[in-house]
């Protein structure tokens, strides 16, 4: 399971890096989205990988090794929300740039030939 997760994170992140190096804003934002998905997976996996383990116990004095770590799950939720908000902000900004400059190039102007 670790290998599958590691490979998928690597592929998604790599695709994201390739996309953010492209010159158009749409590619840029797609790249940012892909990278943030990969990062969310990383955060989720950082409390070790568990299957079918409850994260929270109502009774104390139980072996914590039998439970999944709840903290990364809380962190990943926060990261998703923040990533979503900043991406939305960037989209608005892209629309503004497109309207003002008439170009969807990241420099705000078409490259000179």
């Amino acid at each position: 399971m670790e290998l599958v997760l590691a490979i998928s994170v690597g592929v998604v992140f790599g695709a994201g890096i390739w996309l953010i190096l492209r010159p158009r804003t749409f590619q840029l934002i797609t790249g940012l989205l892909l990278m943030s998905y990969a990062v969310n997976l990383v955060i989720f996996a950082m409390g070790r990988l568990w299957v079918d383990k409850p994260p929270i116990t109502p009774t104390p004095a139980i072996d914590p090794a039998q439970f999944a770590d709840p903290l990364p799950q809380g962190l990943v939720l926060t990261a998703i929300v923040i990533g979503f908000a900043t991406t939305a902000l960037y989209l608005v900004m892209m629309i503004g740039a497109r309207g003002l400059s008439g170009s969807d190039h990241v420099d705000g102007e078409e490259p000179r030939e």
Binding site: M35, S36, M46, I82, A97, L100
Partner: protein, 541 residues
């Protein structure tokens, strides 16, 4: 302890107050600038008072060890989020509030109207800054960074024009990527150590096994990438000059402070985690900080010489200042660090004043005004010269010239102002720290700092001559009191910093002594007891 002393609640005020005031401002109609400005100013003054109170409490021995701990939601330290007000945090809070007040007053005349939602965004920016200075939790630091950045995205675009959009696109994209890198660093650190509390991390780092310690170092290096992008270390700071040059003057002054947040985060995390007593990981990355800082100083100095307009020059000046600070942090050692913090105070105040001043001096030359003319038209702002609001101050050119000279002296580090005192004490401390032979990197750093000072004085003199002595083209601009007073106040603060250097250095020595005792810091934060319910109170949870 059953009741928290009410003074302890002051620690969370710098976060809550701007949040509440900013939220209150949003429903108020866009046209009521006066009311919004009044609210913002009141909040700024209160923040300043609270910051000074925290500084007095932290330094006056009210809290043991000068470290005040506030357990959010009353969870004990490694489990909940702890806010920590020590001497360094309090100092940064005072600096933030001081610059914020100056910027707010400066923007009252015109800038807060050149776009929407200036005041709420400004409050949220203050919340993010204050939170980043107070928090003791890495993930919480991420959240406050994002609050600060989200507000700054809006502010950088403030007064929407094509140039700002072009610069803003790059600024936002770079910072979004840096945020993702921040998250990776945080998760690696958690995977290695099982904690995100900085003090707890410092206490645990020596106990980690070889493999976990290695993973922790990888995580910390990745985290540093994110901090250093904000702090604009070469080669991560290419976004900075363009952003500074295109941002509006008040926002530029706040950006100066935001680069210092990156430096502050490095200082806080590195001294707490990789300081003395960190076992095998002790001293990790300090050499890289020194070398990176030196490269940054060189890059900034060359950039200053190459830049033509004031905003870009100020951007490179900020790069030089963060480079110097990073090199000093890497160099470590108590006396060096105290001088570095003094340098931080002086250079931040002078750079902020300089950013505001540039906008005023650009009015001497008519083309500068054309840049904002479009947005002013779009928002129907009338800028009639015979406008009766406010009185033009006399001797504008003399005022501008003197302020410019003072800022230039501090930035370049020439006598007699604070910049010189800072650099001199830095050299003295670095040379005194190695009595049995000064290493080559120290000589290199000293040489680079002198070179950067020379480059700064050449570049600033050229700008000054072109601005003030340009034959025939100089017309004294009309300045309002509300624009001149903040610049003057910041310059006077720089002078005061020089005159009161002894007092300031005493404080900074206590600050660095506290920072270097990372064991005490961890013990204090982790030992803070949560408030218990009184025995007679109704039912347990």
């Amino acid at each position: 302890m059953t009741v928290l002393p009410w003074l302890n609640h002051l620690i969370i005020v710098p976060v809550l107050l701007p949040l509440i005031v900013g939220a209150l401002m949003i429903p108020i109609n866009q046209k009521r600038h006066g009311l919004k400005f009044g609210l913002g100013l009141a909040s700024g003054m209160l923040l300043w008072a609270v910051a000074v109170a925290l500084l007095v409490l932290a330094d006056g021995g009210y809290w043991p060890g000068g470290i005040g701990v506030y357990l959010a939601a009353n969870w004990a330290a490694p489990f909940g989020i702890a806010l920590v007000a020590d001497r360094l945090s309090a100092l940064m809070l005072v600096l933030t509030a001081t610059i914020a007040l100056a910027v707010l007053v400066f923007s009252a005349r015109r800038w807060d109207r050149v776009g929407v939602s200036f005041h709420p965004l400004f409050q949220f920016l203050l919340m993010g800054l204050n939170g980043a200075f107070l928090t003791n939790d890495l993930f919480n630091l991420f959240v406050f960074f994002e609050v600060m950045l989200a507000a700054s995205y809006g502010l950088v675009l403030h007064g929407y024009n094509l140039r700002r959009i072009q610069a803003g696109m790059q600024y936002i994209a770079v910072n979004l990527v840096a945020s993702l890198v921040f998250l990776i660093g945080v998760s690696l650190i958690y995977a290695a150590s099982g904690t995100l509390n900085i003090a707890d991390l410092g206490a645990r780092v020596a106990l980690l096994g070889a493999q976990d310690a290695w993973l922790l170092q990888v995580g910390a290096a990745v985290l540093a990438l994110a901090f250093l992008t904000k702090g604009a270390m070469w080669p991560l700071g290419f976004w900075l000059p363009t952003t500074y040059a295109s941002a509006s003057a008040p926002v530029g002054a706040m950006l100066v402070l935001m680069t210092k947040v990156g430096v502050y985060a490095v200082l806080r995390v590195w001294l707490a985690v990789f300081g003395e007593g960190a076992g095998a990981a002790e001293g990790f990355g300090f050499a890289a900080l020194t070398l990176g800082g030196m490269a940054t100083v060189l890059f900034g100095a060359i950039g200053m010489l190459a830049s033509q307009d004031g905003g870009r020059m100020a951007g490179y000046g900020a790069i030089v200042s963060s480079g110097t600070l990073l090199a000093v942090i890497g160099h470590s050692g108590g006396a060096v660090l105290a001088s570095g913090l003094y340098y931080l105070l002086g250079s931040t105040l002078a750079m902020a004043a300089f950013m505001l001043l540039i906008e005023l001096t650009e009015r001497i030359r008519p083309p500068g005004a054309a840049l904002i003319a479009i947005t002013m038209e779009a928002f129907a702002i009338e800028d009639k010269p015979e406008d009766p609001v406010g009185v033009g101050i006399p001797g504008t050119l003399a005022f501008l010239g003197l302020s410019f000279a003072a800022c230039a002296l501090v930035i370049a580090g020439m006598p007699p102002l604070a910049g010189f005192v800072a650099k001199f004490s830095l050299f003295h401390a670095m040379l005194a720290a190695a009595p049995e032979g000064v290493p080559a990197t120290t000589w290199g750093l000293i040489g680079l700092m002198i070179l950067a000072g020379l480059a700064a004085i050449i570049a600033l003199m050229r700008l000054g001559v072109r601005t003030f002595w340009a034959a025939g083209a100089v017309t004294p601009p009309r300045l309002q009191f509300s624009e001149a007073v903040p610049v003057g106040a910041l310059v006077i603060l720089c002078v005061l910093l020089t005159v009161q250097a002894g007092t300031v250095f005493d404080y900074l020595d206590r600050t660095t002594a506290g920072l270097l005792r990372s064991g005490d810091y961890a013990a204090r934060v982790l030992g803070e007891p949560p408030v218990l319910r009184a025995p007679g109170a109704e039912g347990a949870r």
